[in-house]
């Protein structure tokens, strides 16, 4: 089991969610985050005070998937989230040691 984490542009969230759904990924967790890589921020001006805002709003999607599905999940997210411009985001994959469905107590792949 792997945890696929994707940091994407917020407006791409719906597209990615639908694409993952079509792939058979049952559930995802979404967090609003902020960050930056190579994409530049912007300047805000309040009376005489100027602030450079480096952090940009992003959406983080986490999905626990079976090992066999990981490659296709990565391709799917890439395709749905890509705009071709700087700031599209990144995908990370972690190994999951254990997973449990709280309602039933199922573990492992049955929990996904």
């Amino acid at each position: 089991m792997k945890l696929v984490t994707a940091i994407i542009k917020p407006f791409k969230l719906d597209e990615v969610r639908e694409a993952l759904s079509a792939l058979g990924v049952q559930g995802i967790t979404v967090t609003e985050v902020k960050g930056f890589g190579r994409q530049k921020g912007h300047t805000e001006l309040y009376r005489g005070a100027e602030y450079v805002v480096d952090f940009l709003p992003k959406a983080k999607i986490e999905a626990a998937v079976a090992d066999e599905l990981v490659e296709r999940v990565i391709e799917t997210i890439e395709a749905a989230a890509r705009t071709g411009k700087i700031g599209d985001g990144k995908i990370f994959v972690h190994a999951i040691e254990q997973a449990v469905r709280i309602r039933t107590g199922e573990t492992g792949l049955d929990a996904l």
Binding site: L45, Y46, R47, G48, E50, Y51
Partner: protein, 443 residues
């Protein structure tokens, strides 16, 4: 079904009987011909209410939106409570010290606890023989004292102890506000006798509060992280709401300062409309040129700058003069919150000096210019710009010196007894939790 009204015979007799005593009211020993107009009273009561709205929630929201979320309630609280406290103190001794007596600097205690002020006593207006119920005047002026003291809290926002704020407000109200109000607005007052023109309080309210704020910002010190950490406003929509309420309420602030519902009030209202609009426009134009974008905060701030600047001028300059005053104030105060602010070096958090102090100075001086009949003002044929400017400048300097001196002593005293500033940890947590045990916004 409408029934036609036929006046019973006793009604005119009763009406005459009721009105006769009003017509016969004595005015501080003046003639029996004193008249009281329902229109004047209605307008003045309305104006009083408008000035209350300017403070709560107008000023409260204008300031509140500008601070960080963790300090929102502390700003709302300081404005609300200072206003309430000062208004009560006004009734106890403020009115008496400001508007009685024969001294040039301060009045006496003859009207302590409003003694002698009853439903029958009257206050004069600017027209000979025209009076208002004294209660109306007491109330109207109370709101002015309240908002002036509430203005100051913007300077030391986000780091001053709540009891210290209140203690300072009481001291400054007593020794800073009352003498200046007496000097400028009371017949025996030093600056009134000089002929200083301050229709609704450019000196008494704005320069007075602006200087007190600046001194406070210096003495309490800069906020933690100032200049390094980002401290953007947490709710500019609320700031805009506050600024809008300030504008609407200010029609009462300036219009009511005419003390009658007549041509002068109309002029004051008109000037309050035009100067404010002009200042908003000139501020954002200045912004567009210097920073590339016109901002909402700029428009709101510009409007307030215009309101401040037209305050001393509202009843004596013409509409075109008001527009010029607004245009100048917008640019001047834009500099006041940027270049001048950097020069002064204090962390005047909400730009009380930059907008109210500087705007008041600009307005007070330009009042001396645009009251000239040749420039559309209501000045008499013998009005001389140069000499009036000198009188205006004198008033400005006296106010700055007085307010500065009193503030310095008051802050120092409060610091010694209570301590002005919260601890670093408390400042990081935020005053809402630390001083009031509340959070403005549930997470």
């Amino acid at each position: 079904m409408r029934v036609p009204f036929r006046m019973p015979a006793w009604m005119p007799v009763m009406l005459w009987g009721l009105l006769a005593p009003v017509a016969a009211l004595a005015v501080d020993g003046a003639t029996d011909a004193a008249t009281m107009s329902k229109g004047d009273v209605a307008w003045m009561l309305t104006s009083t209410v408008l000035v209350v709205a300017m403070t709560v929630p107008g000023l409260a929201l204008f300031y509140g939106g500008l601070v960080r979320a963790r300090n929102m309630l502390s700003v709302l609280m300081q404005v609300f409570v200072v206003f309430s406290l000062i208004v009560v103190l006004w009734s106890v001794y403020g009115y008496s010290l400001a508007f009685t007596g024969t001294g040039p600097f301060l009045g006496g205690f003859e009207k302590l606890f409003l003694s002698g002020v009853t439903i029958d006593t009257v206050a004069e207006t600017f027209s000979a023989g025209v009076v208002l119920p004294e209660y109306v005047f007491v109330g109207f002026q109370a709101t002015f004292a309240g908002i002036t003291c509430a203005l100051i809290v913007g300077s030391f926002a986000e780091r001053m102890k709540f009891p210290a704020v209140l203690a300072f407000a009481v001291l400054w109200f007593t020794f800073g506000y009352l003498p200046v109000a007496h000097m400028v607005w009371y017949g025996e007052g030093l600056l009134f006798k000089d002929g200083a023109l301050d229709f609704a309080g450019g000196t008494v309210v704005h320069i007075n509060a602006g200087v007190a704020g600046l001194v406070g910002a210096w003495m309490v010190g800069k906020r933690l992280g100032h200049g390094r950490e980002a401290m953007p406003p947490h709710s500019l929509p609320l700031t805009m709401v506050g600024a809008s309420l300030l504008w609407v309420g200010w029609f009462g602030f300036n219009g009511g300062s005419a003390l009658e519902a007549g041509p002068t009030a109309a002029l004051a209202v008109l000037n309050t409309l035009f100067a404010t609009a002009a200042a908003a426009l000139s501020w954002i134009t200045g912004e567009a040129f210097t920073k590339g974008k016109a901002s909402m905060l700029g428009a709101a701030s510009g409007a307030v700058a215009g309101l401040v600047a037209v305050t001393p001028a509202a009843g004596s300059v013409g509409p075109m003069g008001a527009i010029v005053i607004g245009l100048v104030a917008g640019i001047a105060c834009l500099w006041g919150v940027s270049g001048l602010k950097r020069m002064l070096g204090a962390d005047d958090a909400l730009d009380v000096f930059g907008v109210h102090g500087l705007g008041g100075i600009v307005g007070a001086l330009l009042t001396g210019v645009f009251t000239a009949p040749g420039l559309g003002g209501t000045g008499g044929a013998d009005f001389a710009i140069a000499s009036q400017l000198f009188i205006q400048a004198k008033g400005v300097l006296i106010t700055i010196a007085w307010s500065g001196g009193v503030s310095l002593i008051a802050y120092k005293l409060v610091d010694l007894i209570i301590g002005l500033r919260v601890s670093e940890d408390e400042e990081r947590i935020g005053l809402d939790i630390v001083a009031h045990g509340e959070s403005a916004y549930a997470k």
